[in-house]
């Protein structure tokens, strides 16, 4: 009786608590609004930086996908190339095709004054033009004696000028092109002999000192071979280790020690793995330096801890009820793990592995230590041949003084990012596709 009366009175304990709840309500609501605001601000910051990064890369990169070509009327002069007319392959192979280029350019612009201008004229087309003419003639011998309009690669300075990277109004001494060269180019432009085309070389060629000849094919193939080695080694070793440690290993001081060490290894700076690879794989085992094999081994060491940790957490997240169900019908430990637990953990384990692979794909520091930073023109043909990888190629180009490498660096970054996005997309897809609900 008395207690109900007391509760009814204002100021009684019951009322006071309700009042204090009400008083605190707006404060609590404000705290929530403030927190949401902070969250949105940080999210917006993140998106902004991402946007800035992508626009700056794309803005610099997109011009790299086009390349300037110059059309020349080339006369395959039999007197010059094959005076004896025997069509001997050696003669044709070693003939002076540069003379054809010089001839054609000289016909177009007879007004050059001195040797310096002559050299400047010949430098309008890429040094590859002579080889291009040889390739053409060897492929089609009936070109001999004829005059054809042939589109030849322009030199990187011409390319930069055509893309507006060289300011024609600037002081002549500050430009890579002289006034008379610009005049020639203007004339070529008028005659429709200057054209920008899709830059297939960028995707088909290996590295080069000449920007117009440099491509990422070598680096892409090198990256691919390195990743194949990494994948083939780290996936089975990582999965087996994760399954053993999580499902079979007795829990004692040794396994605790191993676990701590794996966790520590995941945090070791990657360059340390590069030094290890240099000391062990190259100096001790004598494996070929700069090779995707050694690169893959080093990256395997680097990604293994990541794969093992992700794999163990994926195995741990399989509900114990599934294990009990399997054990309950008489499945052995091994059958329980391989019929039920492991298949359920695979999406998570693969996600971890792909993210580890993506990290390996973007890694450059450890590969510098094992010589994959070398200047390699040939496209690697096997895991034993010298190669470089995309991030190292980016590093090399970023370090080059030629203006033409600026856009190529950005384009290579773009290619690398596309690969990374594809790999992460694959991880998300695998997770969504094979994730089972229980």
């Amino acid at each position: 009786m008395s207690s109900s009366n007391e509760a009814g009175k204002p100021g009684a304990p019951g009322h006071r608590s309700l009042d204090s709840v009400r008083a605190g309500l707006s404060r609590r609501r404000w705290a929530e609004i403030r927190f949401r605001f902070y969250g949105m601000v940080s999210l917006a910051m993140g998106l902004l930086f991402l946007l800035i990064m992508f626009t700056s890369i794309i803005a610099k990169a997109y011009t790299a996908f086009q390349q300037t070509y110059i059309a020349l009327d080339v006369h395959f002069d039999e007197q010059l190339l094959d005076p004896e007319g025997k069509r001997d392959p050696v003669t044709l192979d070693t003939a002076d095709y540069g003379a054809l280029v010089r001839q054609s350019l000289g016909l177009l612009f007879p007004e050059y004054k001195d040797r310096q201008q002559k050299r400047a004229l010949n430098n309008l087309v890429s040094s590859d033009a002579t080889y291009e003419l040889r390739r053409l003639l060897l492929a089609k011998p009936d070109l001999m004696g004829n005059t054809n309009r042939i589109w030849l690669l322009a030199d990187d300075d011409v390319d930069m000028f055509a893309k507006g990277q060289i300011d024609r109004l600037g002081a002549e001494a500050d430009r890579r092109l002289k006034d008379y060269q610009i005049a020639w180019l203007d004339k070529l432009q008028e005659e429709g002999r200057l054209e920008k085309r899709f830059n297939t070389k960028f995707f088909t060629a290996g590295d080069s000192r000449e920007p117009e000849l440099a491509g990422i094919r070598g680096a892409v193939v090198g990256s691919f071979l390195t990743l194949v080695v990494t994948l083939v080694l780290s996936l089975p070793i990582g999965f087996a280790t994760a399954v053993y440690l999580e499902e079979f290993a007795p829990s004692n001081r040794w396994t605790d020690l191993i676990e701590v060490n794996i966790n520590n290894l995941a945090a070791v700076p990657s360059i340390v793995f590069g030094l290890l690879g240099l000391a062990v794989f190259i100096n001790f085992f004598g494996l070929p330096r700069s090779s995707p094999l050694v690169g893959g081994l080093v990256l395997t060491l680097m990604t293994l801890p990541v794969i093992i940790i992700a794999g163990r957490s994926a195995l741990k997240s399989v509900p114990p009820s599934i294990r009990e169900a399997a054990l309950g019908v008489g499945a052995s430990h091994m059958q329980t793990v391989f019929h039920h637990v492991f298949p359920l953990a695979i999406p998570g384990m693969l996600t971890g592995a792909i993210i580890g692979m993506a990290r390996a794909l973007g890694e450059s520091a450890p590969l510098l230590m094992i010589g994959m930073v070398a200047f390699i023109v040939d496209i690697p043909s096997s895991i034993n041949t010298p190669a470089t990888v995309l991030p190292v190629q980016i590093y090399l180009w970023a370090d080059s003084p030629e203006r033409g490498f600026v856009e190529r660096t950005s384009a290579a970054i773009l290619v690398l990012l596309v690969f990374l996005i594809v790999m992460n997309g694959l991880a998300v897809y695998l997770r969504k596709r094979y994730e089972k609900r229980w």
Partner: protein
């Protein structure tokens, strides 16, 4: 009589915590437990439990939470092996064989003593695969037809066949809770065990699904020995022939179900079934 408690007058309640009241013996026992102790590390979870489980009998294990009844049932097919730090002492004989003895393989034991868990736990596979998994790993079916027969018989016995016969290749997890639990029972009986252990099989189910499972237990008694852990005293009274009351790791009283619920002989049993604690 082996157990002196039987001779005591029922007029006064037994208050002795160390000795089990009632007849621990069963005629023609399937499982014989003698002086079973279970430790989780330092914790003494089961203390000196002796109990017989008769053939084609349903025995209910009741008691307050944490009294060790689940721990005890998990000793009977060595599911406790998976728990780190769990030690079992004493003697548990299934069909005369010491299951904790040297050289005992848990795989045939678990085929012999099946288990149904508290929460329905079908494999994330089809209904057919759920039932077929046990027979497959034990090589019980010679061919596809025989396997289909085993699956059908098991689902029929579990009273699920008519509900799922058109959906055998749908995932087992798409069934309702009660259906999932019956699927788990079908999965257990597919390997034709002799004993089925049920660890609170209805605690996650609604009353209608519970009624179905209870009816099923009654039917299964014909073929199997059933040990059921339950929190519901009504359920124990409905489905079991014998009831064992556990308290703080000790087996306090065991007897005919009717006797336990109408005329308990130990003070603790009396307090528990009248709802003084639990």
């Amino acid at each position: 009589m082996k157990n002196p408690e039987n001779n005591r007058s029922t007029a006064s309640f037994a208050r002795d915590y160390t000795k089990t009241v009632g007849d621990i013996l069963a005629q023609n026992p399937r499982i014989v437990c003698r002086d079973v102790d279970v430790f989780y590390g330092e914790k003494h979870a089961i203390q000196n439990v002796s109990l017989d489980i008769g053939r084609n009998d349903v025995i209910a294990l009741i008691g307050p939470s944490g009294c060790g009844k689940s721990t005890f049932i998990r000793c009977l097919n060595r599911m406790n092996d998976t728990i780190v730090g769990c030690r079992v002492r004493g003697e548990i004989l299934v069909d005369g064989q010491d299951i904790y003895g040297e050289g005992m393989d848990v795989v045939p034991l678990r085929a012999q003593v099946g288990m149904v868990f508290q929460k329905p736990n079908p494999f994330p596979k089809s209904i057919f695969e759920n039932v077929a998994y046990g027979p497959r790993i034990h090589g019980l079916a010679a061919g596809k037809l025989e396997m289909e027969e085993i699956v059908e018989t098991s689902l029929r016995r579990a009273g699920l066949w008519d509900e799922v016969k058109d959906y055998l290749h749908h995932p087992g997890t798409s069934l309702s809770g009660g259906q999932q639990q019956r699927l788990c029972i079908a999965r257990t009986i597919a390997v034709s065990p002799e004993v089925i252990l049920m660890d609170e099989p209805c605690s996650a189910l609604d009353p209608i699904a519970t009624a179905k499972i209870e009816q099923l237990i009654d039917e299964l008694r014909e073929h199997f020995t059933i040990v059921i852990v339950t929190h519901s005293m009504q359920q124990a009274a409905r489905v079991s022939q014998r009831t064992a009351y556990f308290h703080l790791g000790k087996l306090i009283e065991v007897g005919e179900t009717a006797q336990i619920f109408t005329n308990p002989r130990h003070q603790l049993t009396e307090d528990y079934i009248t709802g003084r604690f639990g």
